[in-house]
Symmetry: C2
Subunit: 213 residues, 2 copies
C-alpha cells in the first residue's frame, strides 16, 4: 500500500499527488494539519524528523522531499514517463522544475511568511508584496528559460506533461491565492490550462482533497 | 570544451565545481561578477535569461540550475558515481541534497538579503538573524533526516562522496561566513571534514577561484 502524508494547500504535496495520479497509483491520503502545527508534534516527527510534508510510504520505505519522491516514482514506475529520454532534454525539464522548487516556492511558504510577520514586523501588505515579488519575478525567469530552451509544446517539454509541469501548476494556484499578476507569463498560463484539463491534475487540486478548508 | 559560468562564493556554482573535479573533467572558468550586477546585464542574459549562475556549456548545450547540471553529468559521465544504484538509496541522497538546495540555500542568497534590507528595512543584525535562523534550523533538520535514514558513513550515504555532500559543503562555508552556530550538527561537521580532505572539494572552494575577492 502507498500512503501519502499531505496537506491540501501544500505545493510540494500537490506535486506528488499529480505524479501518483499520472502514473495511475492508488494511495491512502494521510492529512497533516500544517496550520494547527501538527507537523511539529511528536507523532509526525516520528514520521519525518524534518517536520515537512509530503512524506511517501512506498515499497517499505519512507521517502521525503517532493522532487526526490518524483525521481523515485520515475525510476520504479517508469510509465507514463515524467522525464524524456535524452540527457539534455532531461536537464531542461529538471531545470524548469528546480526554477520553481528552488527559486520561487521556498521564499513563499508558510514558515517564511510567519517569520516575516513575527520577527521582522512585516504587516500583511509587506508580506503580500514580498510574496508577489518572488513569484512574479521567478515566473518571468522561468518563462524566459523555457522560451530559450525552445522545446516547449502543449507542455513545458513537448506535448506530454512531466516533472516541470507538475511543479508549475501548484505554484500558479499559490500565485492566484496571493493575487499575483500572471498576465506577463502567457506561455506558462497556456501550459497551466492544458494541465488543468487533465484529470490527473484536476483531481490533485486543493479543493478536491479531504482536508481542504 | 566545457565552460562553467561561476562566481567564487556562489554555493550553486561551488556544487558544480566539486562535481566536475570529482569526475575529473577539465573546464574553462568564466567568472560572473554578481556583486557588480553582471548577471543582470544584456551579455549574461544572452547566456542565461534567468540571470543566475552556474551555467554549464557542455556537449554543445547550455545547462542551468545546479542540481539539473549534476544529474546531467551523472547521466553522461557516470564514473565515479554521485548517486548510488538502488532507487531508495538514490532517493535518500537526493532528499538530503534538496534539503540544502530547497530548504536552506534559497532563503539566504544575495538577492534575498538585499530585499530584506531594501524593502523591509531590515538592518544588518536582523539580516544576520534571518540568515542564522534558516541555516541553523535547516541543518538540524538535515542532520535528523540523515540519522533517520541510517545509511551514513564517512559521507552522507556510505563511504563515497556524492550529490548530497557536494550540496552540504558550500552551505557550511556560507554558514561560517555568517557566524552561524554549527556545534549542534556534529554528524554533518564530521562529514564536512571528510569532504574537505579530498582535493576535489578543497580545490573547488572560494579562495581557490580566480574571481575570489
Amino acid at each position: 500500500m502507498i500512503r501519502l502524508y499531505s496537506a491540501a494547500r501544500s505545493s510540494a504535496s500537490f506535486r506528488v499527488r499529480i505524479a501518483l495520479n499520472l502514473k495511475g497509483l492508488d494511495y491512502e491520503y494521510a492529512a497533516v494539519d500544517l496550520r494547527g502545527g501538527e507537523q511539529l508534534g511528536e507523532a509526525f516527527r516520528a514520521v519525518n524528523p524534518a517536520a515537512l510534508v509530503p512524506v511517501l510510504e512506498i515499497d517499505g520505505q519512507r521517502l521525503v522531499q517532493s522532487l526526490a519522491i518524483l525521481e523515485y516514482l520515475e525510476e520504479t514506475r517508469p510509465e507514463p514517463p515524467l522525464l524524456p529520454r535524452e540527457p539534455a532534454a532531461r536537464a531542461r525539464v529538471r531545470a524548469a522544475a528546480l526554477a520553481v522548487a528552488c527559486d520561487i516556492h521556498p521564499l513563499n511558504n508558510l514558515r517564511v511568511l510567519g517569520y516575516l510577520g513575527r520577527e521582522l514586523q512585516a504587516g500583511e501588505a509587506a508580506r503580500n508584496a514580498w510574496y508577489r515579488h518572488w513569484v512574479v519575478d521567478g515566473l518571468a525567469q522561468l518563462e524566459a528559460q523555457i522560451r530559450a530552451g525552445g522545446a516547449h509544446g502543449r507542455f513545458i517539454e513537448g506535448d506530454r506533461p512531466g516533472l516541470a509541469d507538475l511543479c508549475l501548476v501548484p505554484q500558479i494556484f499559490n500565485a492566484r491565492r496571493f493575487d499575483a499578476r500572471l498576465d506577463h507569463v502567457p506561455l506558462l498560463m497556456g501550459i497551466f490550462d492544458q494541465c488543468m484539463a487533465l484529470p490527473a491534475f484536476a483531481e490533485a487540486q486543493w479543493e478536491r482533497q479531504p482536508d481542504f478548508a
